[in-house]
């Protein structure tokens, strides 16, 4: 019992950096995981990935001008994310090119630009920090930012839930009864960028989308209702935050990747054993009901 306590609880009670890491990722789970559910249901998982790369040059510009300061890097990231989202959206709406192609073009340019900008001033340690985050070095400013983003996200989800569901389930129907369709799409994109920027502090630009997409993808294998999916995704996010931090502590692994690997484990377990997973849907052929 004592050993279990030493293993599971002590790291969090003894070390402030573990507490901060836990608080940051718990807040992120409540906010990014339900956003991830809609991202996935809109078949935008890869768009989320692209957006995460897109915030890099903005954050890098903040870094170039002010060093590792949270406010300028956040504002820069938000601006870059907005420019890429609107730019890619504009190219797909105004030309024959579809959004997947324009998004890919914009994010690749952003990623190259961002890495170049960080390298201009920073060391490779800085680059690693920007790309993969530092969960265990979250300061008060970063935690405040993550907290604000989580509050804004949950409030927006509560207000726009019905419209988000309708826009996903039957967008043409929503357009026939309401003018909310287009605004809701942009509000949602805004929430995605906001959560990526918040996650960027903890998990870095390459992995922040992981806490968004993986718990949602795992939750899909267990339920047939979007509400349940959102709750499950948050639960998966919380479990992998805790287990990832412990993994990182005991095995001396980098914390961001440890958290994302934990959600990855949950994903594979869900793929195999979920009630809608591989094993459940691949029953032997002869076993069937009469109606």
């Amino acid at each position: 019992m004592d050993a279990l306590h030493q293993f599971l609880v002590a790291p969090f009670t003894e070390f402030a950096f573990m507490q901060r890491g836990l608080l940051g990722t718990v807040l992120l789970s409540f906010s990014a995981c339900p956003i991830g559910v809609f991202l996935m249901l809109r078949r935008m998982s890869l768009t989320g990935d692209a957006m995460a790369h897109a915030i890099l040059p903005g954050a890098a510009a903040g870094f170039l001008l002010y060093g590792l300061q949270i406010v300028p890097m956040t504002i820069g990231g938000l601006l870059a994310g907005a420019i890429v989202a609107l730019g890619a959206g504009a190219v797909s709406r105004l030309t024959i090119q579809k959004e997947d192609a324009s998004m890919a073009a914009f994010y690749l340019i952003s990623l190259a630009l961002g890495v170049t900008m960080v390298s201009l001033r920073g060391s490779s340690v800085d680059l690693m920090h920007v790309l993969f985050g530092t969960v265990l070095a979250l300061n008060n400013a970063a935690l405040t930012l993550i907290g604000i983003v989580a509050a804004v996200t949950l409030a927006a989800l509560a207000v726009f839930w019905r419209a988000l569901v309708a826009e996903c389930l039957d967008p043409l129907f929503l357009r026939s009864v309401s003018r909310l369709g287009t605004p809701v799409h942009f509000i949602f994109l805004g929430l995605v960028v906001l959560n990526l920027v918040a996650g960027f502090q903890a998990l870095g630009t390459l992995l922040s989308v992981g806490l968004m997409v993986l718990p949602a993808a795992a939750a899909r294998f267990w339920t047939q209702r979007v509400e349940t999916m959102a709750v499950l995704a948050i639960a998966f996010g919380l479990v992998s935050s805790i287990s990832g931090l412990l993994l990182s502590y005991h095995a001396a692994l980098p914390s961001g990747p440890a958290i994302i690997l934990s959600t990855g484990m949950l994903y594979f377990v869900s793929v195999l054993f979920g009630t809608r997973g591989v094993l459940a849907t691949r029953r032997p052929r002869h076993a069937h009901r009469i109606a």
Partner: protein
Amino acid sequence: MADACITFRDLTLGYNSHPAVHHLSGTVRKGSLTAVVGANGSGKSTLMKGVVGMLKPMAGSVAVTPGTRVAYLPQQSELDRTFPARVADLVSLGLWPKRGLLGRHTAQDRTAVSEALMAVGMEGFEQRPIDTLSGGQLQRALFARVLVQDAELILLDEPFNAIDARTLTDLIALIKRWHGENRTVMVVVHDLDLVRTHFPEALLLARSPVAWGETKATLAPENLLRARQFHEAWDENAPWCAADGDHDHAHEHDGHEHHHHAHDEAGHAAREKVA
């Protein structure tokens, strides 16, 4: 006209300066049941989109009597059948006009959803995931959603595609029920026998309206022949439509619902006086 539900005034709808509905004028009476017929590409679906307001007129106007609740079932639904939702969730979307974004769904609303499912022959399907429905069941569920919408104007775009005979009979019965309740119903239909049997009025489109009125007269052989001569010409270099006069501005999107070309204004005024 006092009892008009939809009024078309020299309406032209289309895409990228090419018309899909060309110079349509007339009214759809409140409480009427009209079949919209015509070949593929003759503008039927475009007309529906124009009435709902999803497509702005290039010229002329379409006006639905203010305050009319409209339900629209598109031909190519963008419904995502893989979305994790139950039949009750899908049908409950029809509560939007009543409850909007934030209004709570009451016990009464849930009863209305169950009754609508019963009316389309899907009693007890509330909890079924939508990805387990057959094509016919999905169409019944969408009709249930229209029922829940409780609309005064109902627009159905090819609702009978890939539907078996029994489902067809049930859906036609629903349409007749709506007609009996004095709702205005417009349905895009391909099967002319169906139109002759069940629809009192018909609008025959071949981009331009060929005939419109009582079904038997509208579907007279000479009209059908004229409609058949329509070819799906989409000519990049087609000359500008003479009826619109001003070449520079003819058939351009301008975002205004009641856009008229200058020379047209007089014509409209005259027609309105006559009406």
